[in-house]
C-alpha cells in the first residue's frame, strides 16, 4: 500500500499509452477501467493511513531523503486526489462516445490526470517544476484541441505566459537549493523551523519565496496575471473548460498552501498582501463577468472571481477562515464543472454562445435546466447549497473587519447580478433544437448537482471527518442567511435592470478591454516587483 501513490500516477499514464497504441474498437473502455481501479486504490490507501499520515512518506529508490525524490500524502493532498478522481470521472462520463477522435483525446486527458496526481503528491521542488511544466504543455494541447483559430490563439497565449511564470518558479528553486543544499520540501521546512534562519535578514529565502509565489500566482490566475484564463477557458471545448476551471487552476492554489507551509518557519507575513490580491481578483473578475455576452466567457470570468474569494479565505492564519477558503476550492470545483458541462449541452443544442440569443431552455431541456439552476444557486451562495457554506465560513472569519466584509458582499451582489442575467436563457417559448440524447452527459450533470446539494447539507460530518475542523456554527436554518441572500438577489436584480441591461458605454468599454501579451507580461513584472518590495525590502 505504501507504493499506491506511484500506482496512482502511472495507471492513467499507462492506460493513456495503451489507448493511443491499440486500435481496437472498445479500447476506450480501458479509461473507465483504469479510473475505477484508481478510485478503489485511493480509497483503500486512505483507509490504511487514516490517523498516521506521516507514514505515507517514502523516497523513490530508497535513497537518502535529501537526495532522492520523495512522495508524501496528508489529508490536504488526499482530499485533492479524491477531488481530481471525481472530476475526471465526470469529464470521462460526459465525453464518452461523443468525440470523433476519441483515442487521441483520451490519451491527453488520461496523461494529464497522471501528471496532475503527481503534482499533488510530490515532495520535491524540482519534480514539482517538471509536473507544472508538463501540465502547462498538456493543457495547451487540450485548449488547441478543436483546432479553431481562437483556440490556437488562446493556446499560445496560455503557453508562453505560464512558461514565463514557471521559469520564475525555477529561479526560486535555484536559490533554495543553494541555501539549504536540498530541494526536498520537508527537509527545507524542518531547516527553517529549526531556526537556522530566524534573524529575518535572509534576503535569499525571502526572494525565493517571492519568486515561487510569482510562478504560483500565474498558475492560479490571481490579479493581475489572470488574463490568460478567460481566453483559454472561454474557447476550449466545454468538457475541457470544466476540467480546467474546476480543477487545474486549483493546482496553483494547492501549491500556494503547500509552499506557505514550507515557509512557515521563515516568518513571512503573507496574510495582508494576499488578502488584497484576492479581493482585487474577486472584484475585477466579477466586474468583467458582468459585461460579457458570451456564456462561456461569463463562466470563465467567474472562475477568476471565485479564485479571488478562495484567496480571501486562504490568506488568514486563523484555521477556520483558511478552511473556508479550502472548502470553497472543493465547492467551486463541483459547481463550476457542473455549470460548464451544462453550458456545453445548451451551446451544442442551440449552436450559439450568446446569452441574448438563447431563449426557452427551460421548456426545451427541462432536465438540464434544473441541474443548471442548482449550479447557479450554489455559485450565488443560496442556503442549503454548497457555495453558501464556504462563503459563510469566510464571512464569519472576516466579520470583525468592516471593509473586508463589504468587499465580499459586493462580490456576492455582482455574482448574483451576472447569474440573473444568465438565467434569462431559461425563459421564453419552446424552441426547436438539435435533439441530443446523451445518457452520459445527463448522468454527469446529475451526479455533480447531487453532490452540490449533499455537500451543502452534510458539511459538518464531512469536514469533521476529513480535516478535523468543527464548522457547526454555520447553519442555513437561520433567518439571517435567507435575509442576506435575498438582499443580494434584490440588489443584484436592481443593478441588472438599471445598469447592465441598458448596456451603457462604460460596460461596452470594459467588455472590449483586451490585455495584449506584452502588457500581461508587463503586469507580471510589476506584480513581482511589488511583491519584492513588500516581502523583501520592507
Amino acid at each position: 500500500m505504501l507504493y499506491a501513490p506511484i500506482a496512482l500516477i502511472f495507471i492513467p499514464v499507462f492506460s493513456a499509452l495503451v489507448i493511443y497504441l491499440v486500435k481496437a474498437r472498445f479500447i476506450h473502455y480501458l479509461a473507465l477501467i483504469a479510473q475505477a481501479a484508481m478510485t478503489v486504490l485511493a480509497i483503500l490507501y486512505y483507509q490504511t493511513y487514516t490517523g498516521n499520515f506521516a507514514d505515507t512518506f517514502f523516497v523513490i529508490g530508497g535513497w537518502d531523503a535529501r537526495i532522492g525524490i520523495s512522495l508524501i500524502n496528508d489529508p490536504l493532498s488526499l482530499s485533492f486526489v479524491f477531488l481530481s478522481l471525481f472530476t475526471w470521472w465526470m469529464v470521462l462520463i460526459y465525453t464518452f462516445n461523443t468525440k470523433q477522435d476519441n483515442r487521441t483525446f483520451l490519451f491527453f486527458l488520461m496523461f494529464l490526470q497522471g501528471v496532475f496526481l503527481g503534482l499533488l503528491q510530490t515532495n520535491d521542488l524540482f519534480n514539482m517544476f517538471v509536473f507544472l511544466e508538463l501540465t502547462t504543455i498538456i493543457v495547451t494541447i487540450l485548449i488547441a484541441f478543436k483546432k479553431a483559430g481562437d483556440s490556437f490563439r488562446a493556446g499560445i497565449y496560455y503557453l508562453l505566459l505560464n512558461t514565463s511564470g514557471v521559469l520564475m518558479f525555477l529561479i526560486g528553486i535555484i536559490l533554495l537549493y543553494f541555501t539549504f543544499g536540498t530541494i526536498n520540501v520537508n527537509t527545507i521546512q524542518e531547516a527553517m523551523q529549526a531556526g537556522v534562519l530566524v534573524t529575518g535578514e535572509e534576503y535569499a529565502v525571502r526572494f525565493a519565496y517571492v519568486l515561487l509565489m510569482a510562478g504560483i500566482s500565474v498558475k492560479a490566475a490571481l490579479f493581475p496575471v489572470f488574463t490568460w484564463l478567460p481566453k483559454a477557458h472561454g474557447v476550449a471545448m466545454s468538457a475541457i473548460s470544466g476540467l480546467l476551471s474546476g480543477l487545474v487552476v486549483k493546482g496553483g492554489l494547492y501549491l500556494f498552501i503547500r509552499m506557505n507551509e514550507m515557509f512557515a518557519g521563515a516568518q513571512i507575513d503573507y496574510t495582508l498582501f494576499f488578502y488584497v490580491v484576492g479581493a482585487l481578483t474577486a472584484v475585477i473578475g466579477v466586474m468583467f463577468a458582468l459585461t460579457q455576452k458570451d456564456m462561456k466567457q461569463v463562466l470563465a470570468y467567474h472562475t477568476i472571481s471565485q479564485v479571488g474569494i478562495v484567496m480571501m479565505g486562504l490568506a488568514h492564519y486563523d484555521e477556520q477562515t483558511a478552511f473556508g477558503g479550502l472548502l470553497h476550492i472543493f465547492n467551486h470545483a463541483l459547481f463550476k464543472t457542473l455549470l460548464f458541462l451544462g453550458a456545453g449541452i445548451i451551446i451544442k443544442a442551440y449552436n450559439n454562445k450568446k446569452i441574448k440569443e438563447i431563449r426557452g431552455v427551460m421548456r426545451t431541456m427541462p432536465v438540464v435546466s434544473i441541474f443548471m439552476i442548482v449550479g447557479m444557486l450554489s455559485i450565488t451562495g443560496a442556503p442549503f447549497f454548497n457555495g453558501f457554506i464556504s462563503k459563510s465560513i469566510i464571512k464569519y472569519g472576516i466579520q470583525a473587519s468592516g471593509i473586508k466584509y463589504w468587499i465580499l458582499f459586493i462580490v456576492n451582489i455582482g455574482t448574483a447580478t451576472s447569474f440573473i442575467k444568465m438565467s434569462q436563457v431559461f425563459f421564453g417559448p419552446k424552441v426547436m433544437t438539435l435533439r441530443i440524447k446523451e445518457m452520459g452527459q445527463r448522468i454527469a450533470l446529475m451526479t455533480l448537482a447531487f453532490s452540490c446539494v449533499i455537500l451543502g447539507n452534510l458539511y459538518i460530518p464531512i469536514s469533521e471527518g476529513f480535516f478535523g475542523i468543527d464548522v457547526s456554527h454555520v447553519s442555513a436554518v437561520k433567518w439571517e442567511a435567507f435575509f442576506d441572500y435575498a438582499v443580494a438577489l434584490i440588489l443584484g436584480f436592481c443593478f441588472y435592470k438599471l445598469v447592465i441591461e441598458k448596456d451603457p458605454r462604460a460596460v461596452r468599454k470594459i467588455r472590449e478591454f483586451n490585455v495584449s501579451f506584452e502588457t500581461a507580461n508587463y503586469l507580471f513584472m510589476l506584480y513581482v516587483a511589488v511583491m519584492v518590495v513588500y516581502f523583501v525590502l520592507l
Binding site: 517538471v130 504543455i137 503557453l159 506584452e518
Partner: protein, 113 residues
C-alpha cells in the same frame, strides 16, 4: 564568471517579453530566459571551483562541480525545446488563421467577425 551578469541576461529576456509585440519574438525571449536560468544554476553550482563531475577511483583533490544542477538542467533543456516546438507550431497555425503574428492585431480580432 559572475552570477550577477547571468541574472542580467534573464532580466533582458523578461524585458523583451514585456515589450515585444510579435509572437516569434516572445518565443525567442522565452529561449533567452531559459538559457539564462540554466547558466545561473550551473554558475552557482560551480562557485567553489572544482573539476567536471566524472570521477575515477578516488575523489579529485579540488572537489567537483555540483552534479545535481547539471542533471536538473538537462531536464530543463529538453523541456525548453519542447515548449519552443509547440509554441512555433501554434504560431504557424495562428498566422494562417489571422494573417499576422502581431499580438495586438491577433487579440483584437474577434472570431466570426
Amino acid at each position: 564568471m559572475n552570477p550577477l551578469l547571468t541574472f542580467v541576461v534573464i532580466l533582458i529576456g523578461f524585458y523583451g517579453l514585456s515589450t515585444s509585440t510579435n509572437i516569434i519574438k516572445s518565443v525567442f525571449c522565452v529561449t533567452i530566459i531559459e538559457s539564462g536560468v540554466i547558466l545561473l544554476f550551473l554558475n552557482l553550482g560551480n562557485l567553489d571551483g572544482g573539476v567536471i563531475p566524472v570521477i575515477g577511483d578516488t575523489l579529485p583533490v579540488g572537489g567537483i562541480a555540483d552534479p545535481l544542477p547539471q542533471a536538473l538542467m538537462i531536464t530543463t533543456i529538453v523541456i525548453g525545446s519542447t515548449v519552443t516546438a509547440l509554441a512555433l507550431m501554434l504560431c504557424i497555425k495562428v498566422f494562417h488563421h489571422y494573417g499576422t503574428v502581431e499580438w495586438a492585431e491577433i487579440l483584437s480580432r474577434e472570431s466570426g467577425k
